[in-house]
């Protein structure tokens, strides 16, 4: 996933090869991670796709099925991975993830602690942020979940940046070996206040901690626990509103004072408005087209509260 090896960096000259993990894109809301294997096939509503047809094509290519349907094959990124990973727990999404990375001041070379690992959605972005020389130590008390996350990191080529361990951080705290050498800590735990004293011991002076909690009561207790050793305690909620666009046709009717203009949506088969449509519209003298934009109907109303705090400088 990450171009730690510059020769594997995404470029015009990098082609899909046997064994690559790729993202199969059907639509913006329908994607899937697939390991390319000679002899394998992908079957979906657009037909049967032979993996061997993909090998040697550049990433970003549109590839056809036996039936003439198509998909795009993309190189994985942490953002795409967040959309395709298997949900073993509730996961963090891009708005929270991106804010956490900036606010925790994570830059290449940082050493980070995370608990719990969950489905590894945030971990993948943490790994990207500390690469090439830093490291993410992530802990989950659920053995099977930790194992599956480890497999995912392996498949994405992140093993040298992420270490997954099984440990109950609320009960046992972080391992002593990290004492005083950690740049930032991320907590996504049901009772984060239990882990905060340990996190404080791990952090370097002025290091930043973030706790993600869905409920305000958790935030309340965490903030109380933070006040003894931390400063600059701030709680945020960050959300994304997405917009959709429509091409509209404006039709004028000439009726003197009664004249009006009506906007109708141009028919669209898929996401894309084909160029033929636009050509057709141009023929009609009475109608012009316009691009209209509105917020999407469905939106995420709440994910969690993000509480940040900075370890006191003594």
């Amino acid at each position: 996933m990450l171009s730690i090896d510059p020769s594997k960096k995404n470029s015009f000259q990098r082609f899909i090869s046997d064994g690559d993990l790729v993202i199969v894109y059907e639509r913006h809301d329908n994607m899937k991670a697939v390991k390319v294997k000679k002899g394998s096939e992908l079957q979906n509503r657009f037909g049967v796709f032979k993996h061997s047809d993909w090998i040697g094509k550049p990433f970003g290519s549109k590839l056809l099925s036996s039936k003439g349907g198509f998909v795009y094959i993309l190189a994985p990124t942490p953002e795409l991975w967040t959309l395709v990973l298997s949900h073993r727990t509730q996961i963090l999404y891009i708005a929270d993830i991106s804010f956490v990375i900036s606010y925790l001041e994570i830059v290449p070379g940082c050493v980070i602690l995370e608990s719990g690992t969950g489905s590894g959605s945030l971990t993948t972005s943490l790994a990207r942020a500390v690469a090439p020389s830093g490291h993410v130590h992530t802990f989950d008390f659920h053995e099977q979940r930790a194992g599956l996350a480890r497999d995912d990191f392996e498949r994405n080529g992140l093993s040298n940046l992420v270490t997954v361990a099984v440990r109950d951080i609320q009960g046992e705290g972080f391992p002593d070996e990290f004492q005083g050498i950690i740049d930032s800590v991320f907590l996504d735990l049901p009772q984060p206040w239990l882990a905060i004293p340990s996190a404080a011991r791990m952090l370097k002076q002025d290091g930043v901690l973030c706790s993600f909690s869905p409920c305000i009561e958790q935030v309340q207790r965490s903030c109380e626990a933070l006040r003894s050793n931390f400063t600059d305690i701030r709680t945020f909620e960050v959300l994304l509103r997405t917009y959709e666009i429509q091409e509209g046709r404006i039709q004028s009717s000439d009726g003197g004072d009664e004249s009006y203009r009506r906007i109708t949506h141009t028919r669209r088969k898929r996401q894309c408005i084909s160029s033929e449509d636009t050509g057709e519209n141009a023929d009609k003298a009475t109608s012009t087209t316009t691009v209209m934009v509105r917020p999407c109907q469905e939106a995420r109303g709440h994910t969690g509260y993000l509480t940040f705090a900075r370890l006191n400088c003594q």
């Binding site: 995404n10 015009f12 913006h28 550049p58 549109k62 190189a75 509103r241 408005i273 160029s275 370890l311």
Partner: protein, 484 residues
């Protein structure tokens, strides 16, 4: 000591946690009332209230240190102090249940606003100062002489105390210049200079564009260099940040100089005009000019060779001029950020002076990209693109820049207005240049978290801009090898 720290800074890729002479810092005065970017030197001074303090005591201190203005025999000076255990933001949180109950039953029905609550006159306070009272002692005296203080709730007592502390015992917090602190400082004081780019929006741009080590990132940064700096910070001295521009004039990258980038980091920040990035002819021309220092290098050697972006003898003179003007710009920038409510003319001079004498450690990001690098980008494509150009017509430049990306490369376009992005998205859809297109608008709300008093803050930023994100695709579905 400073010398050692500078050495450590050069070898370590992580932003160091202790200041050194010549280091860029953000000074947070009284919990964000004033934010000043400064460079530390023994000669640098800062004016707080009516007192001029040397910044020398800040050299060699860990970031996060807190200072107070104290008056000693040699006049006012900054002295390091410890954070109060309850931190700066809380109000009466350590109080036991009894006290809190008592406070909940208090209210302001008996409060009469006749300006007679304070028995201490300004002459009294001046006298105390002359006798060498510390700021904290003055605050205590003010509280003791306030007839209404006792009847206030715990929370308004705390508020009162903090207000007085700001005036009589100002605090200076030493902060690391990072994307987070720089963006927040500008957003608070000069949002128009960074195109109203809020920190959550900036963070999203960096994520959507998959900024990661070893990436070659194409930028249009018309937000003063904030974008350039934040991308370079994420690259950690690997890959390249290539700033492109239209119409012959490159954009200012002043803000990128506030980051404490080592020379290695700076060498990764280059500029190239759009016509340079595109035209093969000009490339060949330059190649012949550059012949003596040019290696017919493949991508590997360019990546490994930091010097490939340096030392172009033909453009050497213009570079120096550029650096010069950058320096001047930057010093005025320091002034202006420092120059808020209180008018601090001499403080400005101090910082200005400071800027002129400090030996910069190669703080000159934005050299012209080498022909080799341009050739490499033509062959391989950029790994990602971010556009933050509030003043440009976004649609046409995106149509021009997306083809410079390698296939499957993500991009993120920032704009303050929605309609231009909608038009841009529609064009990209129609031309089948990109998929996964999405316009998003981030929303950020901060909370006050206190026992029995938790609620969203009364003031919030109503607008952080819009982002159009997507992934470039290859258009020719069948003949995928003919991609040039």
């Amino acid at each position: 000591m400073a010398g050692e720290l500078v050495g450590g800074h050069h070898t370590s890729s992580v932003n160091p946690r202790i200041t050194w002479e010549g280091c860029s810092v953000l000074l947070d005065i009284n919990d964000g009332d004033r934010l000043v970017f400064a460079r530390l030197s023994p000669a640098a001074t800062l004016k707080i209230g009516d007192k001029k303090c040397s910044l020398r005591p800040l050299i060699g201190c860990p970031f996060g240190s807190l200072f107070r203005v104290e008056t000693g025999p040699n006049g006012p000076h900054l002295e390091r102090c410890v954070h109060s255990p309850s931190g700066a933001n809380d109000m009466g949180v350590q109080e036991g249940g009894d006290r809190q109950l008592e406070s909940e039953s208090k209210d302001n029905r008996a409060l009469i606003d006749n300006n007679s609550a304070q028995n201490l006159s300004s002459e009294d306070i001046d006298a105390m100062r002359r006798d060498g009272a510390t700021g904290d002692e003055i605050v205590e005296a003010l509280i003791a002489n306030s007839s209404t203080y006792e009847n206030k709730t715990v929370f308004s007592q705390e508020k009162y105390k903090r207000r007085k502390q700001k005036k009589y015992a100002p605090k200076v917090l030493l902060r690391r210049p990072f994307t987070r602190s720089i963006c927040e400082a500008y957003f608070k004081k000069y949002p128009n200079r960074i195109g109203f780019l809020r920190i959550d929006t900036l963070s999203l741009l960096l994520s959507f564009a998959n900024i990661s080590a070893y990436s070659d990132v194409l930028l249009v940064d018309m937000v003063g260099g904030l974008l350039t700096g934040s991308v370079a910070e994420r690259l950690g001295g690997t890959g390249y940040v290539c700033n492109t521009y239209f119409g012959g004039t490159s954009h200012s990258l002043d803000i990128a100089r506030i980051f404490n980038f080592s020379s290695e980091f700076d060498s990764r920040i280059v500029q190239a005009s759009y016509s340079h990035l595109c035209s093969v002819e000009s490339l060949d021309e330059e190649r012949s000019k550059m012949h003596e220092i040019d290696h017919p290098a493949g991508i590997q050697s360019i990546i490994g060779r930091e010097s490939s972006t340096k030392c172009d003898p033909s453009t050497g003179s213009t570079q120096i001029q550029e650096v010069q003007s950058l320096r001047n710009d930057n010093s005025s920038l320091d002034e202006e950020l420092g120059n808020t409510k209180e008018n601090l003319s001499s403080g400005q001079e101090g910082l200005h002076e400071n800027n002129a004498t400090i030996t910069y450690k190669a703080v000159n990001p934005g050299k012209q990209a080498s022909p080799d690098a341009i050739k490499m980008w033509k062959e391989k494509g950029f790994n990602s693109l971010i556009v933050a150009a509030p003043e440009l017509e976004v649609d046409s430049i995106v149509q021009k820049l997306v083809p410079l990306l390698s296939y499957s490369a993500p991009f993120a376009i920032y704009h303050q207005y929605l309609q231009p992005l909608a038009t841009c998205m529609h064009k990209l859809q129609s031309s089948k240049m990109a998929i996964g297109l999405q316009i998003s608008e981030p929303w950020l709300r901060e909370y006050q978290v206190l026992p029995s008093r938790t609620h969203p803050q009364m003031q919030m930023s109503g607008f952080g801009g819009y982002i159009l994100s997507g992934t470039k695709i290859s258009n020719n579905s069948e003949d995928c090898n003919g991609n040039q």
